[in-house]
């Protein structure tokens, strides 16, 4: 089981959290201008790297707030916990 450090509540077991998939997927700025392919990209296509991945988690049984985690999808090591912009640590390593 992962231990994840909520930015507000501190470290807690993974079972207290729910997963939200890839972080930093912004709602389209001009939705009416999107083609079907662009809508598909927004709705259904997400990065799926083997290596560091910026993803969203919510502390469901705690403060119920969302935040971002950079986690290695092979070692499952949590590399960073943050809100706002993705920190530098996240981009090291890349896909393996």
């Amino acid at each position: 089981m992962l231990q994840i450090e909520c930015p507000w509540c501190g470290p807690h077991d993974e079972t207290e959290y729910h997963y939200g998939g890839q972080a930093h997927v912004a709602y389209p700025e001009d939705p009416e201008a999107l083609s079907d392919e662009e809508w598909a990209e927004y709705l259904f296509y997400r990065d799926n790297p083997k290596g560091p991945f910026a993803e969203r988690w919510v502390h469901s049984t705690g403060c119920r707030r969302w935040f971002n985690v950079v986690r290695d999808t092979v070692t499952y090591e949590v590399l960073a916990v943050y809100t706002g912009a993705r920190p530098e640590v996240a981009s090291a390593g890349g896909d393996r």
Binding site: H18, F44, N48, F53, Y76
Partner: protein, 411 residues
Amino acid sequence: MTAQSPQRSVPGEHPEWLWGEPDPKRSYDAIVIGGGGHGLATAYYLAKNHGLTNIAILEKGWLAGGNMARNTTIIRSNYLWDESAAIYEHALQLWEQLPAELDYDFLFSQRGVLNLAHSLQDVRDSVRRVEANRLNGVDAEFLTPEEVAKICPIVNISPDVRYPVLGATFQPRAGIAKHDHVAWAFARACDAMGVDIIQNCEVTGFVKDGDRVTGVETTRGRILSDTVGMVAAGHSSVLAQKAGVRLPVQSHPLQALVSELYEPVHPTVVMSNYVHVYVSQAHKGELVMGAGVDQYNGYGQRGSFHVIEHQMAAALELFPIFSRAHLLRTWGGIVDVCPDASPIIGATPVEGLYVNAGWGTGGFKATPAAGWVMAHAMATGEAHELGAPFGLERFSTGHLIDEHGAAGVAH
């Protein structure tokens, strides 16, 4: 201890080598990337149905060492939607022929599958699925709890449990098979038809001429082919990315486990989506159980223990007799899950490059049909009628095939 009898009905030992170990040629008429069940079936039907025998399977590890060795071997076709029922039922009919066709008894056992219902909504959905199955020619019936107990006496049908059994769907023609032997049977047949099965050969990149694929770069050198099929399961998006193709799949760890060997106590296959467990008893005697996926993306071929714990709790409530059973081992595989819990089969934006992916938690049962349909696409350049609904374009047309309900594993 006495020596094992050669007459024993359950294959235990690895048989003599059933396929060769060729070096890769410079070029092939077609290349299948991935030597798991689906890759082997694809090569088998490329050779058998389409006469393409100058072909190779490139496997980065060893043959059938990924999800083909890690699944819970359940075979059924009782999916809800027409498109799914068609392809899974085609698979089931192929399973029924394959032991004779491949001349290999891989212990395909049509012992039936029960899908339990635990709530009023579950019952309604189940009855609906039974009716849909019947309309599609898939054998299905809805059983009362008492009828469930007749088929599988160890299921606890007491109303005094947290999630009582209110009924179940039953597909009598469903069952299990010995997954390793399925792979070996396909591999032997492929080898006999001249297919090169090349292990320890990882694809590291693609050779392209504009928008057309002309070969692959591998750890054993460049191999040319104008027709390449990607059949890489959990690593599909990592592989496709090397060709500049993006797939709408997310990879998750999926765990399973076995108990020690026991006398036969479980005559069928029982699945429960609601409390989330699925159980059968292998021919040798192990209770084989599948868990749910871990919620996060992962490639680590292992999952969290709390997922196992949750599943054991469900198993114990449904099967009180399991309380004394000892867990022997657990393992994980990586499954590539599509947003609609249905697979992707067919062409990619790169000409000559095809993909079979996104089977998520339920690929084993589809092995022969996935190979059949993928081989058709690779050999003819056209989608097979059973594969056409599962093209990548469905994500932009909106014609999704939402099988979260029938796919059996909570995603």
